[in-house]
């Protein structure tokens, strides 16, 4: 038993019970289907902007790029233009690779001591693999959901759905039926990857030691979102047309609550709203923060150019020369040595 993940799990279970009972027993569909989503979006936008502007107003006193290669130097020494960029193009390429491919996670190594003496470092790629799978699957799932928020549905959403359901996995037997509605890979990959990231935090002792409730909560919440979504699509089945009427109402600012929408949908929606509200106040702000990482986005030209903190206060100086100009006569009268004697 670990207080940190049990606390997070209980928080998500509470969110589930709150929304399920609220929609099913109390019938507060207007609250969960209209008011909470709009409030959540407003909090998300305002919180996101305020966090980013807070960062924008922070000083950058030092040039602190991290480097993984040869710095630009003498002409006959080959520079590593991406890992030690001295040009803006190099920085942009490095940032793109970081944001799209998570290169710094790829560099993760694992240390082992063999026979009590020898140390070996091994590439540890599983965090990188599952992080990539998780983020990209999440993006695909998010874009796929545009089918509920657009009418007519744009071609790229349909194309993505086609690619996502490319392997028409089907299985029918007396006890179960899989394949209709068509299986989307992204949802299953997302669930598998987020589960792996959770198991990693619980099973690896070092990672467990540094994990806080704020690390477990978003994982449980995203698992909740994924499971409720998969449950609606493949198991319980919901009135998809009614749901699209609701979501289209939200997107076109003509909110409506159609009849006969399952309470599981309100749970799913409430989880998503919770995530939206949670983002600006948590580590999930890395979504915006990654663009502002000074170790990645600064030029590695510290030997060629002096970095001056633009936030430097214009300090009023009074040099010795000025001092002497001011007090020269008095100094000469007092017999003190001066640099310039008139």
């Amino acid at each position: 038993m670990n207080v940190k993940y049990m606390f997070s799990l209980m928080a998500v279970v509470f969110l589930f019970l709150f929304s399920y009972l609220g929609a099913e027993v109390a019938g507060l569909k207007v609250l969960f289907g209209i008011i909470i989503p709009y409030v959540a979006i407003l909090i998300f936008v305002a919180g996101f902007v305020s966090r980013m502007m807070d960062w924008a107003a922070s000083a950058v006193p030092f040039a602190i790029p991290t480097t993984c290669g040869q710095q630009s130097s003498l002409p006959w020494i080959k520079q590593n233009r991406i890992d030690n960029p001295s040009t803006k193009t190099g920085v942009i390429i490095r940032m793109l690779l970081e944001i799209l491919c998570f290169r710094s996670l790829f560099r993760n190594t694992k240390m082992k001591i063999h026979q009590g003496q020898k140390i070996s470092y091994k590439l540890e790629i599983w965090l990188w693999v599952s992080a990539l799978a998780f983020h990209w699957a999440f993006l695909v799932v998010l874009v796929r959901h545009l089918r509920f928020f657009t009418e007519p549905i744009p071609g790229f959403v349909k194309f993505l759905e086609f690619m996502d359901g490319f392997f028409k996995i089907e299985f029918v037997d007396s006890f179960m039926q899989i394949g209709l509605p068509g299986i989307f890979m992204s949802g299953l990959v997302l669930l598998a990857a987020v589960s792996f990231l959770l198991v990693r935090r619980i099973m690896v002792p070092q990672v467990k030691y540094i994990s806080l409730a704020a690390d477990f909560f978003p994982l449980f919440l995203i698992i909740g979102i994924t499971v409720s979504g998969i449950y609606m699509r493949y198991v319980s089945k919901v009135d998809i047309v009614g749901i699209k009427e609701l979501t289209m109402g939200l997107a076109t600012l003509h909110p409506t609550i159609p009849e006969g929408i399952s309470s599981v949908f309100f749970v799913h929606l409430f989880f998503v709203c919770s995530l939206l509200v949670y983002i600006p106040f948590s580590k999930l702000m890395h979504m915006g923060g990654i663009f502002l990482s000074p170790t990645r986005n600064m030029l590695a030209n510290t030997r060629a150019f002096r970095h001056v903190n633009p936030w430097n206060y214009p300090v009023k100086t009074h040099t010795y020369e000025e001092y002497e100009d001011e007090f020269r006569e008095k100094m000469i009268d007092a017999g003190l040595p001066v640099d310039k004697k008139e």
Partner: protein, 133 residues
């Protein structure tokens, strides 16, 4: 480096993308499509199962029907009320719902579902047959 202007530009781009559903739909409300039932479907009153079940589960039902007919040579479906139906998309389903464009397609288009029924089956078997004969 004072990058406030770049950060604001980035935020503006992010929120323009984030607000895609709002500006794409231009605030025009798009209610769910109204289904048109044929006279025959209206007269029958109920499908092989309840309306609620059919709305949510018709695709699974059809999948099981196909499996039973093609793999197990079972052709009779007995519903929860004990009524018997022939398991056939062309002869049972399309017999009443002969208006694919006003019945099947309306919801499928609205929800972006591309069923592959029509890869093999023709829309309106009776009409086509009549034409040939």
């Amino acid at each position: 480096m004072n990058d406030k202007s770049k950060i604001i530009a980035g935020l503006v781009i992010f929120f323009i993308i984030f607000a895609f559903p709002i500006w794409y739909n231009m605030f025009k409300s798009k209610p769910a499509p109204e289904l048109t039932l044929t006279e025959k479907a209206k007269a029958a009153k109920e499908c092989v199962r309840s309306k609620e079940y059919m709305t949510k589960n018709h695709m699974q039902l059809l999948d099981v029907w196909r499996d039973k007919v093609v793999r197990h040579d079972t052709r009779v479906y007995v519903n929860t009320e004990g009524k018997e139906f022939k398991m056939s998309l062309s002869n049972t389903c399309l017999d009443c719902h002969s208006n694919k464009a006003e019945f099947c397609d309306k919801c499928h288009d609205y929800a972006s579902v591309q069923p592959y029924c029509w890869d093999c089956h023709i829309d309106n078997p009776k009409e086509k047959n009549d034409g040939k004969q």
